[in-house]
């Protein structure tokens, strides 16, 4: 009994020593190992293998869409904001893209531009409502989401537009076993990491999320940072919309029914970014996305009942977050003046 306890303590101590991001990649590795084992045992007779090319492709493909959304979501969450409208933005973007391309390859650049413009504007609106009207982001983006939904339902009674073969490649081609979309997603992730670390705006997102008042008093124009985060988040949703269009070959308003936004948030938090803002990063988010994708693939390969999938997903999300939630909360609990006091309360 005590032996177990001490062992546990030693383990937790080890984990505590690790950085959060490292911890998450550890978790990802864990999920891969367990998943691989489960698949192997489950499908021993058929010689099933989670790491067979087909499955790897499947995993990577599944990362792309959530990935785009989650990368953007990371930025707003870092600013202690939230965007529940990304699903609707993505759906709208897919329609804008498909209808603008209209089957003509030469329209692709225009379409991409149009998507980024539209989604960017939506993001600006979200940011402005949160920053200037001081509406809680949860409500604000829920509201803008509804607004977009109404527009979609009224204007598009279903799929519309036509994506040329050329652009569909974005959704279907792959280099070796790595889908292009996944590569683009990783590239975007890299860009985001660089942005957060090396640009002022990016760096200031941590400040704004950590303590908006302090950031303001330090001369940071918090409103601009917040709006920037929302714009970038919505643009990522726009890219996700482009991916949808490429994969659907058309634009689909229905896409919003899939609650992508919750997937994205789950991935971000799984990735160790604090829902309260100020801590975390895109590197973790990518791991979070990967964890979810691996789970989906494992469940698929193992032929798990669709409803059991939901149960397991929910359980895994909670468990994984619980694994490192405590440390995170403690860290952010510390505010300068009270650092000493908080130190003791642990």
């Amino acid at each position: 009994m005590t032996a177990i306890a001490t062992a546990w303590h030693r383990l937790t101590a080890r984990l505590a020593a690790l950085g959060t991001t490292a911890l998450i990649y550890l978790a990802l590795a864990g999920v891969l190992v367990l998943g691989g084992a489960a698949v192997a045992i489950d499908g021993a007779d058929k010689g099933a293998n989670l790491f067979a090319t087909a499955n790897l492709v499947d995993m990577l493909t599944r990362t792309s869409l959530t990935g785009f959304l989650a990368i953007g979501m990371t930025l707003v969450i870092l600013c202690r904001s939230l965007d529940l409208s990304v699903g609707y933005t993505a759906a709208l973007s897919s329609l804008v893209a498909a209808t603008t391309m209209d089957g003509r390859p030469e329209n692709i650049p225009v379409a991409i531009g149009a998507v980024l413009l539209v989604s960017g504007l939506i993001g600006a609106a979200n940011g402005a409502i949160v920053a200037f009207l001081r509406v809680n982001p949860f409500i604000a983006t829920l509201g803008t989401g509804l607004i977009i939904k109404g527009y979609l339902d009224t204007e598009y009674k279903g799929p519309a537009g036509d994506v040329p073969e050329l652009f569909q490649q974005f959704g279907y081609t792959r280099i070796g076993f790595i889908p292009v979309s996944a590569l683009v997603m990783l590239a975007l992730a890299g860009a985001a990491v660089w942005f957060l670390r090396s640009t002022r705006t990016g760096h200031h997102m941590y400040a704004v999320g950590g303590d908006a008042e302090v950031a303001r008093m330090s001369g940071i124009r918090t409103d601009r940072v917040l709006i920037a985060a929302h714009v970038l988040c919505a643009m990522c949703a726009g890219v996700a919309g482009l991916l949808l269009a490429a994969r659907f070959g058309t634009g689909s308003a229905e896409a919003y029914t899939n609650l992508y936004e919750l997937d994205a948030i789950a991935a971000v938090v799984l990735g160790g970014t604090l829902l309260l803002g100020g801590r975390g990063g895109v590197a973790g988010t990518v791991a979070g996305v990967a964890i979810l994708a691996v789970l989906d693939t494992v469940f698929n390969v193992m032929q798990i009942d669709p409803f059991a999938k939901d149960v397991l997903r929910g359980a895994v999300i909670i468990a994984a977050v619980a694994l490192y939630a405590r440390r995170q909360l403690d860290r952010t609990a510390a505010r300068p003046r009270f650092a000493a006091a908080e130190g003791k309360s642990r």
């Binding site: 670390r197 090396s198 640009t199 002022r200 760096h203 200031h204 941590y206 400040a207 950590g210 303590d211 008042e213 302090v214 950031a215 303001r216 008093m217 330090s218 001369g219 940071i220 124009r221 100020g278 801590r279 860290r331 952010t332 510390a334 505010r335 300068p336 003046r337 009270f338 650092a339 000493a340 006091a341 003791k344 309360s345």
Partner: protein
Amino acid sequence: MTAPPVLDARGIDKAFLGVPVLSSVDLRIEQGEVHALVGENGAGKSTLMKILAGVHTADAGTIELGGRAVSFTHPLQAQRAGVATVFQEFNLLPELTVAENVHLGREPRRRGRIDRRAMAAATADLLADLGVDDLAPAAKVGSLSVAHQQITEIAKALSQGADLICMDEPTAALADAEVALLYRLVERLREKGVAVLYVSHRLREIFDLCDRITVLKDGRLVQCVDTADITPDDLVTAMVGRRIEAAFPERLPGTETGDVRLKVTGGGNARIDGVDLEVRAGEIVGLAGLQGSGRTEIAEAVFGIRPFTRGTVAVDGDVRRITSPRKAIKAGLALVTEDRKAEGLALNQSVRANARMVLDANAHLRSRRRLDRIPQILSGLDLVSRGDDQEVRYLSGGNQQKVVVAKWLAAEPGVIVLDEPTRGIDVGAKHRLYTQIRALAAEGLAVLLIASELIEVIGLADRIVVLHEGRIAGELPGGATEQEVMAYATGRRSTEDPA
């Protein structure tokens, strides 16, 4: 030909929701001058500072910096114009490093990218220049001592190339030893020709540091004098508008020291050890010691926040295992914590809700009688508020503190621990609080008083227990001299030595 004043503010007016907070205030600060701004809480000191910092904008009046007229709508403008402010609530991000905090909002860039190496180097130079050698630019601020956070704040101000640094209660969080360090910093600034606007309630510091003093009362300018031309007493008079009789009230008549109410024997945990402590009914015992010497730690151990892992605690004779505030309260203890806003009050709740919080939280204490006593308690502490249903966040620091005290008195404790009860409270309010502490003792409470301002301990305590590095270094009678206390506090003397 003398340079124009660093700051020349004239006829500043400011009102909130129609309530005037400042009316036609003038403030003039010369280059390299350390200028004190004093006045009771609510006199308008903070507001004036925030106007200079660009947090608020003046309704009327002119502000000239180095002869140039300015008007700020955002802190950034104030900083660019050379005015830096060190607020009482630190403007630091615990998640970022010292270097990142120092340069927050003005990160050095190379080819558009943040240049972290340059950032670290610049910070190191800055700290060296301030004669600080024990603070690493890469350290996370959240892990620093309050003093080091204070230094970080000042470094931040300097890095903005400020000609004028406004400091709001810079020593409020510091122990006497650390105050010395701050003195050094201020001297350094003076040498560098940087002007300092020094807001403090601590008269000693004002007379030690400042060249001139501007006194505010009720939002109006009372006077601006050279420190040399005024005595502490006159200054106090100027601030409160009346002469305060001897700074510390005498022990009230009819106060008699009764049985032992709190007795700690061999108490210890991770941070403190060998604590033997005894507080009797009607007695005020002062805990003195430098920051980190274990004063607050003892209070928190006694109150079960970070319990003793060794030794015993007895309340009114019977030994109690106090492992949580709840158990402490059950045992009849009360703790007025160091930090009101973070630990004492639910700021969005009404005065009433806060005052009855302890009763609400502990069913066994909740009784009609106790609830009915609350109004008297509040008026007894002469709380000033717009009625019981006013949210406490709108109260002044002094009045907030009264609510905290009231909250505990409502529970009718036998032992009350006061941790820094007078932090950030103006002279007048402080004095009233002293009297009330005396009154508590007179009512038969055992009072354990913790204060970083030695004079408070000396002036109020019947006995002074001095700590050094988590152990009790010695015990002195009330009214002992500061030298005696410091001798123990700095470890130069301990009870083992032949006295």
